[in-house]
Subunit: 356 residues, 2 copies
């Protein structure tokens, strides 16, 4: 039988509770569709720092490398915020992306009809918003040389931002490919009027564009994009950009949908392997109370089914179940208008499993 | 008599038309308050490329250097977008900031009561929004070494982001000083979980904070700030950040107020000298039609009066006049709900001059 191996990284804060619900969805998928999953848990982030002395233990990396996909809850929290660089959860995150070759971060941002009101944007502006930010994830200023040196003006810190043609080409191709399956519009975001990396980015995207005459390409400066996302979010289809700009813009895009507790993300490399995680963070303030929203993590499983396994029917089933449960009025505290009627993490997970 | 010298750079696109109205305001201020201004026009940006072969002619720099303040319209346009780097308007902009030592860009973003509806944010979210982004303007990745080199993965482009303690200290002090005159809240934005420059930024801001025990300081990661601006804009007072983050966040902040055609900005160095300009761009699509909105440029004059000359009464008069004209229902096309009743640039300028 074709057993799919999934590395499960619960992580910190609300990570373990939301991942537990996603695992129930995996189980239910086995029953309903006859698929087989083998899950292996691994330590990562803050809990790995506490238990193993490093945010990304060798063993965890091995578990991921021998899996077909990774499901990640969330990492980080105030407990580790003042640690030295090597002992910070974020360092593990950057490390795992690089080690697994996950050069592309896919962040869909769209509106859940029943949650339109949760956005701070006017409903008529939001109407029809359905975009994907494709963020380059293993290059740029995140991974360039960093150092300090003494100068006449005191200490100086330096970060280096570098991109080569190969790195830009592969992410550009992926974005064009995704745009092709959607509304065929690609916005490439850079700061080509100032940065050399952006000029190379733009040249390279233009060269790749020749292979995608059916996709309409526009170049948008990053500052302008931050504005246009607010002014006309529904006009964007696929946005492709470098690591740092993607970090900022994908969070802005997620927030403007008002559905940040509901959005899933995928980090991909070459081939079908991927790491899937909710867009929201570890929310240490509500961890352990059983009130967190497991939907984004459950939808991350659906995204895994689509992008890594090609289990579209099962993905449909999950997404339909989520919609049904929401349409029936069930809400966790973060998305409830009337907080008193909010249900907990377990109840929400169970309702979705039952609705599949 | 104390004659103030103002270098006037009309620039490109709608620049000349909006600056012309601002000059009428200067003239009216002389009549009303007995001040004396000597204006000297200089070529800059696209028009300087066309007429002098460089975006920032020596002569223009001299005019600015011998002035007490600079009033700038807007620069740039599609005509010069594909020029080589040295022949682009933006290069002139970066050059003039550096040459004049304008290390700080002050961008107030607030709501004009009568324009609340123009924002894509819900009015109840926007309510009370009144913030200032203090952007470092002569350091960071904008001014670091840039180059290309050949690698096994094709050409590679490199940008360098550097900050030293002196650069961070002076902008931090300025932001704390501004916060002190307002609601005494400062948000310092960085990406300290990834960047070395951000870690130095945070350490330095924390050290300066000791001198400002009356100002409440919070550190916000740039991706989170892009979200929080959307979620709770009114909770921000002063935001201080480095050059690239400031570029993105100040545009996001301006756009969310819905008043981008109305916002002024100041670029300052040590001492009282400053360069003042509207936040909006050169809008080449509507240039020369006499329909552009001169209010942001007129309010830039008011900001100049406050920050460079200390002419608070005159600044009050301008700001009150703008408010009065808007309250009376007069609108240029960009802010008119009913476009048919929109008035032109000249009419708007005259109404404000008359109301002073
Ligand atoms: C935690 C941090 C290093 C990370 C990033 O900036 O990539 C996070 O913000 C994200 O977007 O996944
Ligand atoms: C034109 C460009 C170089 C400039 C910048 O990024 O600084 C502009 O966006 C601004 O904010 O003044």
């Amino acid at each position: 039988a074709d057993v799919k191996k999934i590395a499960v990284i619960a992580g910190d804060g609300i990570g373990p509770e939301v991942v537990a619900e996603a695992e129930k969805v995996l189980k239910r998928t086995e029953e309903l569709f006859g698929y087989q999953f083998e899950t292996e848990h691994a330590l990562f982030g803050g809990i790995a720092i506490d238990e193993k002395g490093t945010p990304l233990p060798e063993e965890t990396l091995k578990v991921c490398q021998s899996a077909d996909a990774v499901l990640l809850g969330a990492v980080g929290g105030p407990k580790w915020d003042n640690n030295s660089k090597e002992l910070r959860p974020e360092t593990g995150l950057l490390g795992i992306r690089k080690a697994l070759g996950l050069f592309s971060n896919i962040r869909p941002a769209f509106i859940f009809d029943c949650l339109k009101e949760a956005s701070t944007l006017k409903p008529e502006v939001l109407e029809g918003t359905d975009l994907i930010v494709v963020r380059e994830l293993t290059g740029g200023i995140y991974f360039g040389e960093k150092f300090r040196r003494e100068t006449a003006n005191g200490q100086e810190a330096v970060d280096t931002c570098a991109y080569n043609v190969t790195e830009i080409e592969r992410i550009a191709r992926q974005a064009f490919d995704i745009a092709r399956t959607r509304r065929k519009k690609l916005a490439s975001v850079d700061k080509a009027n100032v940065l050399e990396t952006s000029r190379l980015w733009r040249e390279t995207v233009n060269r790749i564009a020749v292979d995608y005459p059916d996709v309409e390409l526009e170049h948008v400066l990053v500052d302008n994009c931050a504005m246009q996302l607010l002014r006309r979010p529904s006009s964007f289809d696929v946005i492709v950009t470098e690591n740092m700009f993607g970090d900022i813009l994908s969070d802005e895009a997620a927030m403007l949908t008002g559905s940040i507790g509901m959005l899933a993300s995928a980090s991909l490399g070459e081939g079908s392997f991927g790491l899937y995680e909710p867009v929201h963070g570890s929310a240490p303030d509500i961890a352990g109370q059983g009130i967190s929203n497991p939907i984004a993590t459950i939808l991350s499983v659906a995204l895994m089914f689509r992008l890594t396994f090609g289990y579209h029917e099962a993905a449909d089933s999950i997404e339909r179940a989520v919609k049904e449960v929401l349409d029936a009025g069930h809400r966790t505290g973060d998305i409830a208008v009337d907080k008193r009627s909010a249900i907990g993490t377990l109840a929400m997970g169970q309702l979705i499993v039952d609705a599949m």
